[in-house]
Amino acid sequence: MSDKEDIKNTDAAAYVLKLKETEEELRKTKEELETYTWGLEKTNEAIRHLYKELEIKNIELKKLDHLKSEFVSTVSHELRTPLSIIKEGISLIMDEVTGAVNERQRKYLSISKQNVDRLERIINDLLNISKIEAGKIEIRKRSVLIRPLVEQLVTSFEPKAKERGLYLKTDIPAGDIEICADEDKVMQVLINLVGNALKFTEKGFIEISAREKRSDVEFSVTDTGSGIAKNDIPRVFDKFRQFGRQDGPGEKGTGLGLSISKGIVEMHGGSIWVESEPGRGTRFTFTIPKYCTETFFKEHVKNGLEEALKNETKMSVIYISIVDYEAVRQKLGKERFREVVNRLEGILQKSLRRAGDVAAKDTGELIAVVTSCDKDNVQHVKKRLEVVLYDFLARENLRDAIRLQFGYATYPDEARTDDDLIKRAREK
């Protein structure tokens, strides 16, 4: 063959070789692709399967939650009914509706009545504690001033303390200190602690004090009573714990008070503990986070989001603020300003009833988390709330002093996270 043809042949051969190599690569790539695709399909299948499992678990959880509520309310009814019948039966006889009653009869009727009352307290506490543990207790947190709270406490216990010859004193720092709490529930804790202190103190004093810390307020109830033995201290908050301390006069306790107090304090994000020296006295201390911060609104919205997710509904957040709140606060004075904000919150909640959850900050910002509310509904709700709120302001002659600004956002259409919802509602 000629040289030229030789070269052509070599080129051709190289070319064919290259082609064959490329073909081989392509084939390999195709195989890899097929393997990947197969892998992806398997993953997809697994995801679908997990989804189904999740749905089933969700249904089970909903059922369990429903059972918990039913249990608490059924038990409540089953216990309260015979209790009321017994109570009224004894009352009827004692009140001599069924005829005259002699001293001996009266004595035993009296004992029976006292114990029925004791049973009632136990049942109430038990139901309380089972609601707390089932997560079925609602706490409504808002900015609460501690001074009026403690003053109210002292006023109610002063007579009893006097009766026992005990000195009731307080040590609260001056100024407006606030906690982010459910006022009634915190009061319940304070009443429990002071009540206990009174019961177990023969002489001396009971002191209610508060200390402002960096991010919470520390409350203490100190007494000069018989104290608690070192061994008993770890079990002080257990249910049905009643100690060998001699009971003072008055009602017999249920043994659940401290357990309930612990539950309440922890629901607020605080902690509770005790220090004691037998013969010297006891101090119970608990902490409650200070004023409601940025996260306060977020918590409420988050709860609303969880509900919406659980029930697969939409929800909306309506944000209301007092324009120029600092100037308004200056003008009205702190007390009046706070009172107005509280009233606004109350009116909002009343207006929404069960359909919404309202929270307020003392910067005159209010937020309403409205369940099962979509983009169209929220406009109606907003209009309605506007009317109600301005009505209130007019009645209080504050229509000129206070201007309100309204904004709203809907999940999932306009935002999908708590932060985004708040942000959007604020901006509108």
């Binding site: 309310s73 059924t74 409540s76 009814h77 089953e78 216990l79 309260r80 009914t81 015979p82 209790l83 009321s84 019948i85 109570k87 009224e88 039966g89 009352s91 009827l92 009140d95 509706v97 069924t98 009632e120 139901l127 009833r353 069960r354």
Partner: protein, 128 residues
């Protein structure tokens, strides 16, 4: 003094309540379930209804609804008694309109005063 209809399924509860209300001079009638309650209400109109809305057989709340929707009975004062603290039911009852909402055990003095209040209003001269 007043004609009272008690709607309550617990016979013992009815027994003690009747004894008590009798002693106050009231005329007391009883219905042991929702159906009986509605039958009685179709025959006469009491001055007050004491309604248990936690009856296990149910129907308590429906009695309240029926009363409020009835042209003849809609303004009838109803005092609710319940053994449970269900917020939802409480909300609905209050929305329908109740003279009082008590959780058992009832405070007999509170009930006595409330009944006296209702009787006074009933006997008050009609506003022109």
């Amino acid at each position: 003094m007043a004609k009272i209809l008690i709607v309550e399924d617990e016979k013992d509860m009815v027994q003690v309540m009747m004894e008590r209300l009798d002693s106050y001079g009231h005329d007391v009638d009883v219905a042991f379930d929702a159906l009986q309650a509605m039958m009685k209400l179709s025959k006469y109109k009491p001055d007050l209804v004491l309604l248990d809305i936690s009856m296990p057989a149910g129907g308590g709340l429906q009695v309240l609804r029926n009363i409020r929707m009835n042209i003849r009975l809609f303004a009838l004062p109803v005092i609710i008694m319940t053994g449970s603290q269900d917020e939802k039911i409480k909300e609905e009852a209050k929305k329908l309109g109740v003279a009082a909402y008590y959780i058992k055990p009832l405070d007999i003095n509170v009930l006595k005063e409330k009944i006296a209040e209702i009787v006074k209003e009933k006997d008050a001269p009609e506003e022109a």
